[in-house]
């Protein structure tokens, strides 16, 4: 077993303690991360984690029996699929890049547009999205978990429930609980910044950190605090990615919104690039949110190329250049009309761009280091 399992074990022990005490609120995170928030009605137990782990990897919950959660959130690929946009059943493509599940427990909303508030509610959606796992409803899942002997035992252990007592609520709780154990900090940056080990990062990465909190202005959204760093502000920003896809006028915007209303947000935004480009606006209908997507964490970012909500940037270098150009791939590209006021040209030199990339490479947790 590798170091991930050590981490999970440590968390489980802590979780068991808090559960035993009836707290169920939070437990300590690794170096650089705050305590993991745990909902009071879904405390972490080893039994639930074991069940969630199995559910997460079970391909039978798709129409082709070939796709599981782990298809797009593959541990060996930093819990992503390393594709521009995810592929579900029959190689059907969605519109969005699979975000890593590592540290998703800390996020205040789930999905790129934050359309679900919790890991629990998020976990039920991909099963029934036509371009992901393709089920018409959740009944086939319940049928399997109520009859499969292995699941019967796991649900009994985790929830004390069997047969018709098992519903999607328990499935969601188990999946969320498993994901709450996928916590990773203790990167070279954490050891340098929070641990006081001045040799933990290379000189280039140290220069990159200076730029990250200074001229690069990255830290304004990818937050580093005094004792912890989630590298996200949990907010939504229109940074210019895929601006050409965005509705150009009222007619196109109306059509996209109609699409969202007709199909529901989850299905609509994954089936069409133009509808996807609405971003947070699909959820809030607030003009500030047109084309705005959630700030990603940068932890383990070196493992999860390609980047941005549509996977349109191949490398970290391209990402830095994109920001340096003020929210566009090339300096000669037009600026999007509705670009966030936080995005502006940075005047970074090529060396400075390279230093920023080196810094981001220092955000990989040891358990995920490339072999």
């Amino acid at each position: 077993m590798n170091r991930t399992s050590h981490c999970i074990k440590a968390i489980l022990m802590a979780g068991a303690v808090t559960a035993a005490l009836g707290l169920g609120v939070a437990f300590a995170g690794p170096l650089g991360l705050p305590p993991v928030p745990v909902p009071a009605d879904n405390p972490i137990t080893p039994e639930k984690v074991k069940l969630g782990d199995k559910l997460f990897h079970d391909q039978r919950f798709s129409t082709t029996a070939e796709v599981s959660c782990s298809t797009c959130h593959d541990k060996d690929k930093g819990f992503t699929d390393q594709l521009p946009v995810s592929e579900g059943i029959n190689k059907l493509k969605g519109t969005r890049n699979a975000p890593t599940v590592i540290n998703a427990a800390y996020l205040e909303t789930q999905f790129w547009d934050g359309r679900e508030p919790t890991l629990e509610s998020q976990s039920a959606q991909p099963f029934v999205n036509p371009v992901e796992m393709g089920l018409k409803d959740h009944d086939p899942i319940l049928k399997i978990v109520r009859t499969d002997p292995e699941y019967q035992a796991l649900f009994k252990n985790a929830f004390g429930k069997s047969g018709g007592q098992i519903t999607m609520v328990e499935v969601e709780k188990a999946l969320a609980t498993f994901q709450r154990t996928l916590i990773a900090g203790n990167s070279p940056f954490d050891r340098y910044y929070f641990g006081g080990d001045k040799k933990a990062m290379s000189p280039a990465a140290v220069r990159g950190l200076e730029l990250f909190i200074g001229q690069g202005r990255c830290v304004s959204c990818h937050v580093i605090e005094q004792t912890q760093a989630l590298f996200t502000d949990n907010r939504f920003h229109m940074i210019g990615v895929a601006a050409h896809q965005m509705p150009k006028d009222l007619d196109e915007l109306s059509a996209a919104v109609e699409e969202v209303k007709r199909k529901g947000t989850d299905i609509a935004v994954l089936s069409d690039a133009k509808t996807s480009s609405l971003g947070r606006y699909a959820v809030t209908r607030d003009l500030t949110d047109i084309g705005a997507f959630k700030t990603s964490t940068l932890r383990n970012i070196d493992l999860t190329a390609p980047y941005m909500h549509d996977g349109s940037l191949k490398t970290l270098k391209e990402v830095v250049q994109f920001y340096n150009n003020g929210g566009r791939v090339k300096e000669s590209d037009p600026l999007p009309d509705l670009l966030s006021g936080g995005i502006r040209p940075l005047d970074l030199t090529e060396e400075q761009e390279a230093d920023l990339v080196e810094f981001m490479k220092a955000l990989t947790s040891p358990e995920f280091l490339r072999k």
Partner: protein, 357 residues
């Protein structure tokens, strides 16, 4: 209790989801009143388009105006018309006015323009008049009489004193807190025109006046001021419903003087903080009871914005569209007869200020 628009949207949100178009602008017919008398218009102001050199303009101000225009284009149903509230340019240059007008040309709908001091003091409005039109005029729309004033004139002895160059004069007026500046005014000639213009209007007709500077005296040190404001107010006094809408101050302000409601509009360029005026003495100046939430300097657009306006039975409801901030509405309260912030007036519902360290 009259149902205000915000409450309406809130309480009928579920019903609206089924039928509403993308933007939040929903025209509401109130009771049995004739809905044809209710309409909306958009208001964009204080763009301050600034030439750096050659064809290079200040990106921040460009982006503010571009954003407002694009957002306004996404309103539905369409507003009946738009206003531009002045200070299209920063230093009155042809290049700046042309560039600003080019951005404004993308706005879908008729636009009426108000001139600001930044558009005026280089050539005293010559280029503006050749490209846009007269500096003061009036028009009627759906039973409301609209008046556009040029309120940023000043004493001739200042305007025509020996300047080294027209740009010197422009720069002197462009400086917000210039002690060598000169107070804004409407002037006798325009007051004479206004008197005649209003004489033709029935006293029961709602009147809306657009000016760049406030037609009320807020703070002379920053020229948040019109020297002959009382004279304009006197001409408006006989009318039952009067609203003055002004730019220049780059912030939300509202006030009531007698029969006249005052409302300010936001800038698309940058926010001004409130002047710390008259702290030592008791003053009867407009009280700014609900300060703007502090601008977040990271987001250039925070504390800037534009507005759409519902005209209901001749009263004006101002809806501020504030990117990276919470939208605000200042609606006319028919009970008190004053404009009032629809949400944040009560002390316990105000937005706490942000703190940056």
């Amino acid at each position: 209790m009259e149902l205000n628009r915000r409450a309406f949207l809130k309480t009928t949100g579920a019903a609206l989801m089924a039928t509403a178009l993308p933007m939040s602008l929903v025209r509401v017919a109130f009771g049995s009143q004739s809905p044809s008398q209710n309409f909306t218009f958009g208001y964009i102001s204080d763009a301050h388009i600034q030439l750096i050199k050659g064809t290079k303009f200040v990106r921040n101000w460009d982006m503010g105006l571009i954003r407002s225009v694009q957002e306004a284009n996404l309103l539905t149903p369409r507003p009946d018309f738009f206003m531009f509230g002045g200070d299209l340019a920063q230093l009155g240059m042809k290049e700046e006015l042309d560039h600003g007008l080019e951005i404004m040309s993308k706005l879908r709908g008729k636009v009426h323009y108000v001139i600001g001091e930044h558009d005026y003091y280089l050539d005293l409005g010559a280029y503006w008049q050749s490209k846009i039109g007269p500096l003061w005029y009036s028009f009627d729309h759906k039973g409301v009489h609209f008046v556009v004033l040029n309120s940023i004139l000043t004493y001739d002895r200042w305007t025509y004193k020996k300047w080294e160059s027209p740009m010197d004069r422009m720069l002197a007026m462009a400086r917000l807190d210039n002690p060598e500046g000169s107070p804004f005014m409407v002037g006798e000639q325009q007051l004479g025109w206004l008197r005649k213009d209003l004489a033709k209007v029935n006293k029961g007709t709602p009147v809306v006046v657009f000016s760049h500077s406030p037609i009320q005296k807020i703070y002379q040190g920053w020229n948040f001021w019109t020297e002959d404001a009382e004279k304009v107010q006197a001409l408006l006094k006989p009318f039952k419903k009067v609203t003055v809408i002004y730019g220049h101050v780059h912030q939300i302000q509202y006030n009531q003087i007698g029969n006249i409601s005052f409302q300010a509009v936001m800038a698309t360029a940058w926010p001004w903080p409130y002047p710390q005026s008259y702290t030592q003495v008791t003053s009867r100046l407009p009280k700014l009871t609900v300060p703007m939430n502090r601008a977040d300097p990271f987001f250039e657009r925070d504390a800037t914005g534009w507005q759409f306006i519902d005209v209901r039975k001749g009263n004006v409801d101002m809806h501020y569209q504030l990117p990276d901030n919470k939208n605000r509405s200042v609606v006319f309260n028919t009970k008190t007869g004053y404009p009032q912030d629809a949400k944040y007036q009560a002390a316990d519902s105000r937005i706490p200020p942000q703190a940056h360290f």
